[in-house]
């Protein structure tokens, strides 16, 4: 089922004419001419669309909060920071279907009463930023953006704003700080951006994929959308699949596809003569799944039920050649590097977790270190100021729980085979 990826295989897909062929910019005039802002919000509520940036918050509800706040001006921010390791689906939408994002933003603006939009795009996507700027110019020329859009009296302006290399700026309050020309560090929530956002004014922050889902919902109706995927998590999802699969790439599938189907039927399965070992279903921030969990459904609720998370839908797949201790080390180094330094548990804790992993990898570890790691990780999880710290420990904790024998092999200075035999005896 192609909703989000309906345009990406066209020749010159980013051009406005390619977008217009397939009912592009039909939803926007329909909303402006035939619907009240409240009706647009209701339609998105009926769809039960949940945010695709990681947290899965209902988009209609977020818009409702922002629309009820009477202060002006209001802002729509498209979160195109796409920093979660393993995620590259927003890049595909940005480069191949930028107008779908712009149309979704304009509809969101009309719904909540915002005249300004920003697209905060990570600095590492210079090509995407140029494509978005070109698309905005095209849309302004044809009066889909700018002043008095299609003579409706509604104005909506979009500015592309490039980040400069900081994962934390994907977190919505850090993003807003960064957009205000500060160091990108998280703010305390509440208050939430819907009331106190950019310049302390009402601001809707939505992920690229969330916004790209809006025009199809307005065109076909919320009920149509709500019937795709699972009841709790409707719609299609863009899964970014990478790692050791034969065909890494972005796959659009109804929410709730199983890990097995995604890996073996869509992503081409494992490389030759290799077997599945583990997968991180929601990027570096998620707990890994092992072979016994291949039939878990990849949606917000199902993954939460097994102690992991869907996050951005970044599925990183590992085969039997993967060394899970090294994997945990790579991921913890990432979080250590990206910690914004504002709070102690995350800043100091991640440093120590990494140091203990260094020691284990260098053969200086003890079995007691594993309990120490779990203990420190729990401290980081429960006391960190923002989501980065909270989720950062998931790869370490889950690999210790599910692949303890690999840690033990390092600790005993044995090969994995020897160590496993000892465990078994």
């Amino acid at each position: 089922m192609k909703i989000l990826t309906r345009n990406i295989d066209r020749p010159n897909p980013a051009h406005i004419d390619s977008y217009l062929v397939n009912e592009g910019y039909v939803a926007l005039p329909r909303a402006l001419n035939e619907m009240k802002p409240e009706e647009v919000i209701d339609e998105v509520k009926f769809s039960r669309l949940r945010g695709r940036g990681g947290a899965g918050f209902p988009a209609g509800m977020k818009w409702d909060f922002a629309s009820r706040d009477r202060r002006k001006p209001k802002y729509i921010i498209c979160n195109a920071d796409e920093g979660e390791p393993g995620t590259f689906k927003d890049r595909v939408l940005i480069e191949k279907d930028p107008h779908a994002i712009l149309e979704g933003m304009a509809i969101a603006g009309y719904a909540v009463g915002a005249e300004y939009g920003f697209i905060y795009i990570r600095g590492e996507y210079p090509v995407g930023a140029r494509i978005l700027e070109r698309a905005i110019a095209e849309a302004e020329k044809r009066s889909f953006l700018g002043r008095n859009i299609l003579n409706s009296g509604f104005n909506f302006h979009i500015v592309v704003h490039r980040g400069a290399g900081a994962y934390i700026c994907g977190e919505e309050t850090a993003l807003i700080e960064s957009l205000e020309g500060k160091r990108g560090q998280s703010r305390i929530r509440p208050p939430f951006p819907v009331n106190v956002g950019y310049s302390n004014l009402p601001t809707v922050v939505n992920n690229v994929e969330t916004l790209a889902s809006v025009a199809p919902i307005i065109l076909r109706g919320g009920n149509w959308y709500a019937n795709i995927g699972t009841h709790e998590c409707p719609g299609t999802k863009l899964y970014s699949v990478s790692g050791h699969v034969r065909n890494p790439g972005v796959y659009e599938l109804p929410m709730g596809v199983t890990l097995r189907e995604l890996v073996f039927e869509h992503a081409g399965g494992m490389r030759e003569n290799r077997t599945f070992k583990a997968a991180f279903p929601g990027g570096a921030s998620s707990a890994c799944l092992d072979e016994s969990e291949l039939d878990v459904r990849l949606d917000f609720n199902s993954l939460a039920a097994v102690g992991s998370m869907l996050g951005s839908g970044a599925v990183m797949v590992l085969d039997d050649t993967a060394d899970m201790v090294k994997v945990a080390h790579v991921l913890i180094k990432f979080f250590e590097h990206e910690s914004c330094g504002k709070c102690t548990p995350c800043r100091e804790g991640l440093f120590w977790v990494r140091r203990v992993l260094d020691a284990i990898l260098e053969g200086r570890g003890t079995e007691a270190d594993l309990d120490l790691l779990l203990d420190v990780c729990e401290g980081i999880r429960s006391t960190s100021f923002c989501g980065l710290g909270e989720a950062s420990i998931n790869p370490v904790v889950s690999t210790i729980k599910k692949f303890r024998h690999e840690y033990m092999a390092y600790i005993r200075g044995q090969s994995l085979a020897e160590s496993s035999m000892e465990e078994a005896s």
Partner: protein, 163 residues
């Protein structure tokens, strides 16, 4: 007081005014101005920081804080071409370490260093959203995917010719 004329042409000055005009709040233009200046001057000099702070009306320390917070901003001049090697998971398990070794060998530098001829600076970065093309390397704005150790020299050569 840094007079803009000392470090920017009048065209550049107009470009920067246009950047500030995009925002209700001038301070929001700090990052875009930094990107702009870094593109034309290669890095953010002390004078550039002072200029930006005055241009948007914030204390100098604020410009300094921002410039040193983000990994893509440089307050010291890097080599002419910036090589960013992804070290995150999907690249790691697809051979990023071999590429790192090859790059270090070809350039005779460590991570963070600049080659003797001033042409290349090598840095490691986190996932650059090209995991489907792992292992991935970005040189300046260009993405190179599915890079093998054998391909490294060819990639470097293709930049050696360029200004």
């Amino acid at each position: 007081m840094i007079r803009s004329a000392e470090i920017f042409s009048s065209q550049e000055h107009r470009d920067m005014e246009a950047i500030v005009a995009r925002y209700d709040s001038p301070a929001s233009a700090i990052l875009p101005l930094f990107h702009y200046i870094q593109k034309i001057q290669g890095y953010l000099s002390e004078d550039a920081l002072t200029f930006v702070a005055e241009f948007v009306g914030v204390p100098h320390v604020r410009a300094f804080e921002v410039a040193t917070y983000y990994t893509m901003l440089f307050t010291d001049p890097p080599g002419r071409h910036l090589i960013q090697l992804c070290r995150n998971l999907s690249c790691h398990v697809n051979g990023a370490e071999d590429i790192l070794e090859k790059l270090k060998e070809e350039l005779g530098i460590q991570v963070g260093g600049t080659s003797g001829d001033g042409l290349f600076t090598l840095v490691e970065v986190e996932c650059i959203g090209a995991c489907d093309l792992a292992p991935a390397v970005m040189v300046d704005g260009d993405l190179h995917g599915r890079v093998s150790a054998d391909a490294v020299r060819g990639i470097l050569d293709s930049y050696r010719g360029k200004a």
